[in-house]
Symmetry: C2
Amino acid sequence: MSGWLVIAGLGPGNDALLTGEVVTALAQATDVLGYIPYVARIPPRPGLTLHPSDNREELARARHALRLAADGGRVVIVSSGDPGVFAMASAVFEVLGENEAWLNLDIRVLPGITAMLAAAARAGAPLGHDFCAINLSDNLKPWAVIERRLRLAAQADFAMAFYNPRSASRPEGLGRVLAVLREECEPERLLVFARAVTTPQERLTTVKLAEAMPEMADMRTVILVGNKSTTQVGRFVYTPRRAE
Amino acid sequence: MSGWLVIAGLGPGNDALLTGEVVTALAQATDVLGYIPYVARIPPRPGLTLHPSDNREELARARHALRLAADGGRVVIVSSGDPGVFAMASAVFEVLGENEAWLNLDIRVLPGITAMLAAAARAGAPLGHDFCAINLSDNLKPWAVIERRLRLAAQADFAMAFYNPRSASRPEGLGRVLAVLREECEPERLLVFARAVTTPQERLTTVKLAEAMPEMADMRTVILVGNKSTTQVGRFVYTPRRAE
């Protein structure tokens, strides 16, 4: 059995942010699986089968990939950003125990540039001190958990990164998030709404918490929230390395 | 004035984890600055001046790089991992306002694979749900801030990544961190001590909190702490995507 499964991060959008090891794995692959827009980034070639699938089909996609690898395929599941951050790696491990044979497969996770770090780099260094990453999608957890984490993170004075801040099915969620932040943080706190970073559609907007509005985010946005020391110099936003 | 300054992430150690845009910037550079072991990763070539400097000289290094770029140099400051995560990007912005001319320079931050995400990929997906990153060095903040953040992060049920967990000058700090975790978390909580990931010296050790010891870490280690749902399947550690 010479098959393998790689779970690879494609970074935020621009292929210049791919790592060499991901480029190599894709060049060797017989099968690439992933969410439709991510698979669309992979150029077709002879010997490669592309398997795009829809959102919310992560577990079915993971099982399909494991079956292909068990049959001898050189299989890559592609995620945007990093596969270990709100992406496909956990989904694969959630189903891995379903079949004893899968446990012995050659499985590797190849990291990628995750959205918050690409966004932070574009803005300056807003995550330059202790920080947290929170997925705001309430598909996977109840609102009460999100609210509790937001309050504790603000009280800890973490800088924060929010993934999946807004979707058509949850238009009101981000308004609630901003309301919680306004209870816990000062109105001058800096936020960066970073949309589609590193792509032609990139747009960065830096605002104070008092001015932040849910309409500043869409499905392609990651939001960065500074800590209480985050400041601006010239066109850059950064968080100092020291805390008192 | 055609000079520029790039603050680039070299990733965790293996050059296969460099991004294409960082490789390109390094190929164009006239000057590379950074901490001695990171500059040692850059092959010498005609036309390139290497400027290694010691740890804790971050602000002097940042000013030196800005002066070289203002004089027309194509300057790269190299960081291990990602320059925006406990690395050189914040140091540059901390001094940028000292000279009006520096504010107009072409400055770009190029992200890299940060240690916690490289370590997580090697272990499986321990950061697959909401998580935080904490720098345990008390050079830059008092112990009281570290302890408070640890307690609030545990109460929020974040998975955690600890940078700089142990150094010769702070042999006792990690013992205090583990003691706080033992007060806040159950003894079965999973920890991954990940040393020098992606290098020939790589060593990953997964233990329960009850068995964790400060001696399992050194200066080249990042520590990952699961949340209360983090579990093992086969040789992998992962955190499920859902929370109740």
